[in-house]
């Protein structure tokens, strides 16, 4: 990035916001995996978590994921200029 044009350290507020929403979209499945794997920690059997509790947890989580994805997809679609979203990997800060 030394050369043609000075490196742009800061982007406009709108672009910044869009990138953070993209970050959130990337993070959501990670969060989903972690929360879906939570039942692995539950104790089993008669003294453990009841089936209704499990159902409540899993379906609440599920609905939350759907809701979050809905909100994110709404914001992700705000700008049709989705093409120019991420900077090419090579020029991402910290890459060099």
């Amino acid at each position: 990035m030394t050369g043609q044009r000075p490196r742009q350290l800061f982007v406009e507020r709108q672009t910044y916001r869009r990138r953070r929403i993209q970050d959130a979209a990337r993070f959501l499945p990670v969060l989903g995996i972690v929360l879906v794997m939570v039942p692995l920690l539950w104790s089993e059997g008669a003294q453990g978590v009841s089936m209704s509790g499990a159902i409540r947890y899993l379906f609440t989580l599920w609905a939350a994921l759907v809701g979050a994805a809905m909100v994110l997809s709404h914001y992700l679609g705000e700008d049709k200029a989705g093409e120019a979203e991420d900077p090419p990997p090579a020029t991402e800060p910290g890459d060099r």
Binding site: Q22, A25, R26, L28, P29, V30, G32, I33, V36, M37, P39, L40, W42, S43, E44, G45, A46, G48, V49, S50, M51, S52, G53, A54, I55, L58, F59, W62, A63, L65, V66, G67, A68, A69, M70, L72, S73, L76, G77, E83, E85, D86, P88
Partner: protein, 911 residues
């Protein structure tokens, strides 16, 4: 009318309805009103073919047996959809930009359009999908039989189970052939099919929810009561194998992208990338609703239905047992929809793969590789597609008949998932890692497929079918560490987790290692870059370099594949694009690289990327464009570049030579002019004395009485003239000797003063009327010289004589200054007090025969030129120092070195 007959009638009507929906959708699409057909909602609903009969009936059975484990099958895809920004977005973009027609096409395209890879993936997909199709047929048959059992008409159908399956299979094959191969669309999109499965998606969701609502609010009496019942039931406590929970979630997520039918609806049928955005939340929502009532239905079934009844059919038998026939029929339709939509899309996707990657290449090979000869390729492609569909459905049916429709089939869903998941490493690495190579992909897929078959698929068929019990117990060839369900002696893992773990791990490791070790072909690297960087650039596939293709030939071929009208429309559109305006009908575009590329894409929608490439290649030039040929093209280009570089260098050289030649020619011309001038000058100079000699000698000869005085006078004139002539000839000789360098120098030591003394006395001697006053400073003239004093004297005499001759002052004076220079040279200045040499003549005075003032000529005009030659020989120079008045000549010559042994001075003698 009996309930059973009613069911059959409803089924028939439903089937007709689906045909109608597909037909209408197809028609509106044809009329360009496909907008509403292609809304995000339809896209989302079409994804629902993920929920097959295995979901519709099986999930409840699954829940009845293993509690909450069934949700993993839906949580995996949920996470994948919610994380669309990671994988699906890129996958869809790649699919659209490369016009991918199937998952095999994607893999093949990514790895240099390798057909071998495509064939491998196709076989894997067919092997994995066949039991799954059998399972769908079984579910329809089983549900139909259960229905008959429940309404007490079992006797009517008991012998006809396989018949039911047969007719269902026939109907499905017909539907798929009708709507899946209506036309060969470049986008490989099937509006009719997609619309029909979207309708079926609504039917199965509402059917399952209707049963669920009936159970929760009809039978149970509310949400709280339902939860109480659940907790009280046999599956009322959390019971989970952690490994299975994680592995199944992962597997479902992987299968969601890798299943050929899912790939078909997710990527191939995708009309707009923005639809994915909606589907990212809407499809997880759909899955949630599909799963919501599974546990309540299972619990209620376990509670109400007699022990031993098949939990897989609770969705159907529960309403029947409660006397809700209408609900049961609705539920049956839901199951029927699930099964049929899956079979339709799966057989369509598989048939695309089989016909594009196996049948068409074989046909092309068989027909001699000439697409333009053996009739209509379009018909061949369609026929291949239709036969493939029929073949795949038949395969499913045969598998169903052979397996006997037993319980073994129920487990096949996950086995199938694990099989197609083997494509995952190759696919993900393909779109994220440029280093992935074809050889690596082949190796990884082979290992994964082999291990999956050995550890999961073959054992799932039951001991003794292909793998004997002894292999299962003792390992292959008796090697204990090769036991199919306990590889490397690690026992006690769930067989499915075991198989998924080892097959995917070793698959990915092999793929990775072989990719690292191997080197991709140029085409692979090109494709790899395009796939991996698809989000940065709206790049296209590689470009055609040949422009020799004939547009007519391409048109003929395209007509055969796309159909006449479509091809003509496409060509016209391309011609218009090239012309930048509308063109008359039938105009053909220039077969430029851009056009060829778009044409190839268009064709690849019908016959697959590799075949399309081969076909265009046949016409553009050569039987097929292999990587080697591409390399050859690249080589050729490089050679041409090199050649033109060489040419350029040569032409530069030539230009330089020409310039030199011109220069030489100019010089020669100049020399020739000089020579001519010289010759005419010489003849003139020779002629003048000769004329007087001749004249006077004639007088002497012819005149009788010549007085002795006259005789003496004439003789002396003749003598003088002869002397002058001799002098001239001497001078000329001298000059020529000096110019040719053939002069002997008589080098000796002496002082400057000696030389000047001699010269001054010699120059003044012959002239009595000498008025020239020579001023010298003897102290300055003490420098020792080592030179040819005779020659040096000649120069000095000439200069002094010139002063005498040309100095136009009243009292002519010549001042001679000598000075030693710091660089070991002596400078002798001859300055007279005359008016000097006119500026325009200064350049010429050293030239031969040049005389500044001809009227006062005494010599031939060779003096100064001889002087200059002599001084050059002596290692010095003579110049005219420009000054406004006074003629000022300067002679520069080297001083003798302090010690001058004659030995090496001899070397100055040149010859």
């Amino acid at each position: 009318m009996s309930t059973l007959n009613l069911l059959i009638l409803v089924c028939m009507l439903y089937g007709l309805f689906l045909f109608l929906v597909a037909f209408v959708a197809e028609r509106s699409a044809r009329r360009g009103r496909a907008r509403w057909l292609r809304s995000p909602i339809v896209y989302t609903l079409s994804l629902s073919i993920y929920c097959t009969a295995w979901t519709f009936y099986g999930a409840v059975g699954y829940a009845a047996r293993s509690g909450m484990e069934y949700v993993t099958i839906y949580l995996g895809p949920t996470i994948v959809m919610v994380g669309w920004w990671w994988v699906l977005r890129k996958l869809v973009r790649v699919g659209r930009s490369q016009r991918v027609t199937s998952i095999a096409d994607l893999i093949s395209s990514r790895f240099g359009k390798s057909n071998l890879l495509a064939v491998g993936v196709t076989i894997l997909a067919v092997v994995a999908a066949t039991p799954y199709i059998a399972l769908q047929l079984q579910s329809v048959t089983l549900s139909f039989a259960s229905f008959a059992d429940a309404v007490g008409q079992a006797d009517q159908v008991s012998d006809e189970r396989s018949t039911t399956a047969f007719w269902v299979a026939m109907g499905l094959a017909l539907f798929t052939v009708l709507f899946g191969t209506r036309n060969l669309d470049a986008n490989e999109r099937h509006h009719g099919v997609v619309m029909a499965i979207a309708v079926e998606a609504v039917v199965k969701l509402t059917a399952l929810m209707a049963v669920g609502i009936f159970v929760v609010w009809g039978l149970s009496g509310g949400v709280a009561e339902t939860f109480a019942r659940i907790d009280a039931s046999p599956i009322g406590h959390w019971q989970m194998d952690g490994g299975r929970w994680a592995a199944l979630t992962f597997l479902a997520g992987a299968a969601f992208i890798c299943l050929p039918r899912m790939f078909q609806v997710l990527v191939v049928e995708n009309a707009d990338e923005a639809h994915l955005r909606t589907a990212s939340w809407a499809f997880p929502g759909y899955l949630l609703l599909m799963s919501l009532f599974v546990v309540p239905i299972a619990v209620m079934g376990l509670e109400r239905l007699p022990a031993g009844s098949n939990p897989d059919l609770f969705v159907l038998t529960l309403p029947l047992a409660e006397g809700q026939t209408a609900l049961a029929i609705f539920s049956f339709l839901g199951g029927f929809s699930s099964a049929t939509s899956m079979v339709v899309v799966a057989s369509l996707a598989l048939a695309t793969m089989v016909s594009n990657h196996m049948v068409m290449p074989l046909w092309l090979l068989w027909s001699g590789g000439r697409a333009s000869v053996s009739g209509d390729v379009r018909h061949v492609v369609l026929l291949a597609r239709r036969l493939s569909i029929a073949g795949i459905v038949a395969l499913g049916y045969i598998y169903y008949r052979i397996s006997g429709g037993g319980e073994a089939l129920a487990a096949i869903g996950l086995v199938s998932f694990a099989g197609v998941a083997q494509v995952l490493p190759v696919m993900i690495a393909g779109i994220y890692w440029r280093g992935a190579t074809r050889i690596g992909a082949l190796a990884g897929l082979t290992v994964g497929f082999g291990l999956w078959g050995y550890t999961l698929f073959l054992p799932s068929l039951g001991a003794g079918v292909i793998l004997s019990q002894s292999i299962l117990d003792n390992g292959f060839l008796g090697l204990v560490w090769l036991r199919p369900q306990a590889l490397f002696g690690i026992e006690g893992i769930d067989p499915l987790v075991h198989a998924v773990f080892w097959s995917l791990l070793l698959n990915a490791l092999t793929f990775f290692a072989v990719s690292l070790a191997s080197f991709p072909s140029p085409l692979e690297r090109l494709q790899g870059a395009q796939f991996v960087n698809v989000l940065q650039q709206a790049g296209s596939a590689r470009s055609w370099s040949a422009g020799a293709a004939q547009a007519e030939d391409l048109m003929i071929m395209a007509q055969r594949i796309l159909g006449a009208q479509e091809a003509q429309a496409f060509f016209e559109q391309e011609a218009a694009r090239q012309a930048g305006r509308a063109v008359r009908a039938g105009a053909l575009p220039e077969p430029g690289p851009d056009f060829l590329q778009r044409l190839e894409r268009e064709l690849s929608g019908s016959v697959g990327a590799a075949t399309a490439h081969a076909m265009v290649a046949q016409i553009v030039g050569g039987a097929s464009v292999s990587v080697h040929e591409l390399l050859a093209v690249a080589d050729e280009t490089a050679q041409m570049i090199e050649y033109s570089d060489r040419l350029q260098a040569q032409s530069r050289e030539l230009a330089a030579t020409a310039a030199k030649l011109r220069e030489a020619n100019d010089k020669l011309t100049q020399l020739s002019v000089q020579k001519d001038a010289f010759l005419s000058q010489i003849s003139h100079e020779l002629r003048t004395p000769m004329t007087s000699i001749r004249a006077f000698s004639e007088i002497l000869r012819d005149t009788r009485d010549v007085s002795p005085e006259e005789q003496k006078k004439y003789s002396s004139i003749i003598h003088d003239e002869s002397v002058r002539l001799t002098r001239l000839l001497d001078d000329l000789l001298d000059l020529s000797v000096l110019e040719n360098g053939q002069v002997n120098l008589n080098i000796r030591r002496g002082t400057l003063r000696e030389a000047l003394d001699k010269a001054v006395s010699a120059a003044v001697a012959g002239d009595e009327s000498a008025k020239l006053q020579v001023n010298r400073v003897p102290e300055e003239e003490a420098q020792t010289l080592e030179t040819d004093f005779d020659r040096l004297g000649q120069v000095f005499i000439n200069l002094i004589a010139n002063a005498r001759k040309y100095c136009d002052a009243e009292v002519p004076e010549l001042t001679i200054h000598a000075a030693a220079m710091s660089d070991g040279r002596v400078q002798v200045d001859f300055i007279d007090n005359g008016s000097g040499i006119p500026e325009e003549s200064r350049d010429l005075i050293f030239e031969k025969f040049s005389r500044v003032a001809p009227q006062r000529a005494g010599g031939a005009g060779l003096g100064l030129s001889i002087c200059r030659q002599i001084m050059e020989r002596l290692g010095g120079s003579v110049d005219y120092v420009p000054s406004p008045r006074n003629a000022h000549f300067r002679v520069t010559l080297p001083m003798a070195e302090s010690e001058g042994p004659a030995a090496h001075r001899k070397s100055l003698v040149t010859n």
